[in-house]
């Protein structure tokens, strides 16, 4: 399935429009997405940004996704760097 990934904060500038698409097996789950994203970042992003990915959470519009979760049915996932609101 196609996963539409939104980037936030310091990761926004890593991709045009702060978005990228990755093609994943339907059953790869959140852990599979995380691995694919890490591989993409390793090859495409500057090193400090790729390193930041290890501290990022993945989420849909409702909650944080854990590694054991299935991919969201709508194929939309957000990458959340460490937060600094307020």
């Amino acid at each position: 399935m196609k996963i539409e990934i939104s980037l936030f904060g310091a990761l926004r500038e890593c991709e045009p429009d702060a978005r990228l698409q990755l093609e994943l097996a339907d059953d790869s789950g959140v852990a599979g997405l995380r691995a694919a994203l890490a591989a993409h970042a390793q090859s495409q992003w500057p090193a400090p940004r790729a390193g930041l990915l290890g501290k990022c959470a993945l989420a849909d519009e409702r909650s944080i996704l854990r590694d054991g979760d299935a991919l969201p049915v709508d194929g939309r996932v957000a990458v959340l760097p460490p937060v600094s609101g307020g």
Binding site: F8, G9, A78, L80, P82, V83, S84, G85
Partner: protein
């Protein structure tokens, strides 16, 4: 949920309004209101700041505000009224970044609810701060990772990597 006003306010479209927050959490049965206002200050870690850009994942942020409000209500009682609003986009020094207000029958709950909510908003909400300095440089703040404790949706205390909160 009309006891909670939850909002993300784009700086291009409006400003955070403490008076509206106070009005919203007012009630004839309430004796105590506590309001927290976070403003952009002119210095951080010794560097002269000219402004801050806030990035938010709006939908998740609003869902998170609702969860935080529900937790506060569970802890401080069903009558609690809460106002949670965070700015988005580019702010100048002195602009308001966040306004939290809590109204309750007695003041102790108002203070504690307001404090609990601002801590949760700062540590759990998908909000990112980029500081702009007088020398033209801009840096994204380091912040709190959501991978650990906070990913469970609890406000558990967790270690911070030396960044200011």
């Amino acid at each position: 949920m009309d006891r909670h006003h939850l909002a993300v306010v784009d700086a291009a479209q409006g400003r955070l309004d403490p008076a509206a927050a106070i009005d919203f959490v007012s009630d004839p049965a309430f004796g105590g209101i506590d309001v927290f206002i976070g403003r952009v200050r002119d210095l951080n870690h010794g560097r002269k700041v000219v402004g801050i850009s806030y990035d938010l994942f709006d939908a998740l942020a609003l869902n998170g505000f609702a969860q935080i409000a529900a937790r506060a209500q569970a802890e401080f009682g069903p009558r609690l009224k809460l106002y949670i609003a965070h700015a988005k986009g580019r702010l100048a020094v002195g602009d308001l970044a966040v306004v939290i207000a809590a109204g309750t029958p007695h003041r102790d709950e108002a203070f504690r609810a307001c404090r609990m909510v601002i801590e949760a908003v700062k540590h759990e909400s998908p909000i990112w701060k980029q500081e702009h300095y007088v020398d033209g440089d801009s840096i994204w703040s380091e912040g709190c990772s959501l991978c650990g404790d906070a990913a469970d949706g609890h406000a558990a205390p967790h270690a911070h990597d030396g960044h200011a909160h």
